[in-house]
Amino acid sequence: MATVFSPYAWLVPAFPFVAFAVLTAFGRSLSRTGAWLATAGTFLSLVLSLVIAIERMTGAAEDYRGGYEWLRIGDFSLPFGFEVTNLAALMLVVVTLVAFLVNLYSLGYMKGDDRISVFFAYVSLFTFSMLGLVLADNLLLLYIFWELVGVCSFLLVGFWYQKPEAKAAAKKAFIVTRIGDIGLLIAILLLFWYMPDHALDFVSLHNVFDPQNGGTISLGITTLIALLIFLGAAGKSGQFPLHVWLPDAMEGPTPISALIHAATMVAAGVFLVVRTFDVFEASQAAMDTVAIIGAFTAIFAATIGLAQNDIKRVLAYSTVSQLGYMMLALGVGSVPGAMFHLFTHAFFKALLFLGAGSVIHAVHTQDIREMGGLGRRMKITAWTFGIGALSLSGIPPLAGFWSKDAILAAALADRPWLFVVGAIAAFFTALYMSRLFFLVFFGKPRGEHGAQAKESPGVMTFPLLVLAALAVVAGFANTPWNGWLGQWLTGNAEADHASALAIVVSVAVGLLGFYIGWLVYVKGAVRRDVLSSRLPGVVRLLERKYYIDELYAWLFVRPLRALGDALTAFDTHVVDGAVRLVGAAANGIGKLNTRLQNGQLQTYGLAGLLALVVLVVAIAGRRFW
């Protein structure tokens, strides 16, 4: 079957871009119409994405490429092109679907904001950039969109620019991810100079780093390139030690947290590693690094999530942790596992964030200690949030269970100790999610708004329902007995990692975590402050997120500031001082000469005599030199 729709894949990002352009140009006069326009643009993208995905599922397996030359210098040419593969098709659907639902939701959530058209313009620009990133056929183009999604994230985190926290968070998000971006940039420079014909497209990357053509690029350079790419991925996907920006990014409007900081942009790091996976596979050291960083991030962030009291921050650390799982999957060689989890996570985490937004909308606080008892007043939100929480906790048969199980099974097959780490992290995941869920929706209302909380309007609950449905069924795309998604993505039947042990453990830790949460926060069988009274140090350590922010302030921020001040002093006193000294010296010599020319014969005589003496001494002295 011929590819009919894939050549039009460039239209998918084009719709949101047009929406962005129109909103930027006429935004102020459009206001709510503009918001609907942006939503409609994303909807068209969604439809086209679905058509393309269906086309690719039903046979058209050939990848489609198109593009034009962007820049030519001498013999080098940097093309702009797009590429439609099964992976791209999957990502298109995920991005446009979540983006559309978030657009819809935002119509309700951002209703009263007088900059609503700006908001929708930014969201459209983001959607465009994210879709461009997905379709890019070469690393440089991917990098360009990579930076663009970063800047959209920055703009949206800082959307409420009057809040000092939002300003700080936006700045931090941009700068911390930029650290990773420099890694990616240098990786591109390396590839440009080491690849045959300076090719940067993914097909060439695949061919060159294919083990069958091994040896084109030395192992050391390969490892370096892979690690630099991973640095970029770690920045975007909030991997330790560059995770610090993501929780702070929760200062942005909640729909943004769902779209950018849960479902799509933060997964771009995972997508990048998948896209350049051949480079990683060529270097065991790089694979080890990815696996270990991923596993560490998974458990590290999960423990922090246990002690946070801001509903969005709990979810943010959960996102960091889940992205860690995806990296872990890649590190143990399972692309299907990572992409599968990316796929299901996009739905249930977007659901959780939108649910959290619905709660915040109702009670005007983000502190879970001031919520409680919302289950009866906000039935749809509570039920859908509950489904999301169970899905995230890995309770079968919900989507999160299947994808997490795939990762754990792959880890077990590759390196059992990583499986243990992953299983413990899964336990913590279930625990913090049950804590969150029960504290928010069970018990008695604790805050001032809790008693009057009302369910959100339909435009907000409809996306919740859609996402909840997906959080239930999306897992069946790739079950241990039917690895359809993995096959479709990678083109070959993946070695089956299914393992009874992995399933049993993963179900057990999930249920156990949720049960303990229920015991503590609903039943009251265990006192809530049992930990903070017995081990105050540990709890405090978790509450303060292991003091990483403070550490960075000491290690980087302050030294930079001190260096800046020191160099400013150096510049004004030493460098400019030298300039002034030269000026002063010229001036001084001039003045001295003026003084010498004073018309007194005695002075001239004295100067002449002194000069004569100097001359004589100099001439005589040369003999003894």
Partner: protein
Amino acid sequence: MLKDIPVLSLIALIPLAGAVLLLFLPGRRSTWPRGVALAFTAIPLILSAWLFAGYEPILGGKAFAEHFTWLSIPLNAEAWGPDAAVASYRLVFDYRLGIDGISLPLVLLTGVVSLMAAIASVHIRKRWKTYYALFLLLQTGMYGVFLARDLTLFFIFFELTLIPMFFLIGIWGYFGREKAANRFLLYNGLGSAFMLFAFLILIATLGFSAEAATAGGNAFSFTGDYEVLLAHLSDPNAPANIAQPGNAMYLSDSLKWTAFVLLLIAFGIKLPIFPFHTWMLKVHTEAPPSVVMIHSGILLKMGVYGLIRFGAFLLPEQLDAWAPVLATLGVINILYGAVLACAQKEFKLVLAYSSISHMGIVLLGIASLNEIGLQGAIYQAVSHGLISALLFLVVGTLYERTGTTKLDELGGLARSVPFTAGILLTAGLASLGLPGLSGFVGEFLAFLGLFGSMKALTAVGALGVLLAAVYVLRSVLGITFGPMPERFIGMKDARFVEALPMVALAAVILVLGVYPSLLTDLMQHGFDGLLKQLSTKAGG
């Protein structure tokens, strides 16, 4: 038809004509001087655009050349030995203008930034007639610098920019304007002295040629004609290349090195290269914003241009040998400028140090000595010119309203002047190298070029990209984000006359970022001669 009119001369001299015309017009109010200045600034831009449309890269420097002998000064006549014929010497000044892939982008930059600065001069409040006359004179100097193909002519135009600039800073600047103007003139005058010295070395050696023997004996001439110098450089029979005892015209290695270092200092002051940068801090803070647009946007690029045009093309071996030095200086510029920009409390100083940092990237591109890097250097120069012009345009607009450019006195302006704040944010993002805007292309090409030869240095230099994010966001968000102080309530956003150049500059920055071929296609073949020379030197 384009070939029939002396379009290059027109570009260079029309502003001068405008300045002369202004002298005969009333200057009591701003209307007349401003109108004339705008018209005579717009015409060269239109002509440059015409050049742009008709330019064929393959022709290189030969396109649109204009040449005639301007002055010929007899020097001396002498007879060597008893039976030798009389040899007569003369010094020839040529009026030669030309254009190629390196100068055309800068001519276009000059046109765009000048017009925008002319529009932005609406904030000038006194002595309009003098201001605009000097402004036009300055333009003639700048166009001349980029168009001249003769060392002497170049020098004259180069000096011509100093005088109007001196008065523009000294009369219309802020509080410390006179000191800044003095510093500017002295420092640049010193640079010119170095340049003149280097030029004389080149004229006395490479510029020497024997002309056809006449009845009166042999005739020799010295010229600064750039084409002649280039031809002699690659001609093994040229006197400058014959190492013979008694050949006073021989351009020895030590002479080459002297000339190279002199040129490096001369243009290094203009660029500026650390540690010759302190003069430009004063100019950035004390000159009126519309003049800083010209200064930061175009005048600094004369340093880039001179370094490439004379340093690289006439002394390629020296540049080649010193490429690591140049790259190191570039990295120092990048990091030193960036760290200092992070620590400034005055927005104009942030921008000044950021200029130092960005010019370091230009140095990296030059040091790469390959086509990618060299094009990157020019691209970065053009892009930085546009971006800093835009930034100072915003500075001028904000200062008009707030009366301050100190970071801790500003804040929350996104609420009171959303349009201007949006433009400031765009310019800031362009400055920190966001892809899709022009800053990224120049940076990327320069890094890409240098990475081929000096990997570690490039990687260190790339840290500047991170610091750029720090200082740009710190200052731009400091101005626009955060709670708005009460005194900014009710402030009016940019007027049409202020918004127009902002939108125009932002559009050019965007177009160059999205479609860089627009500019790089011009530069194709621009470096062919240099690269050929380098490769033959390396091969032979």
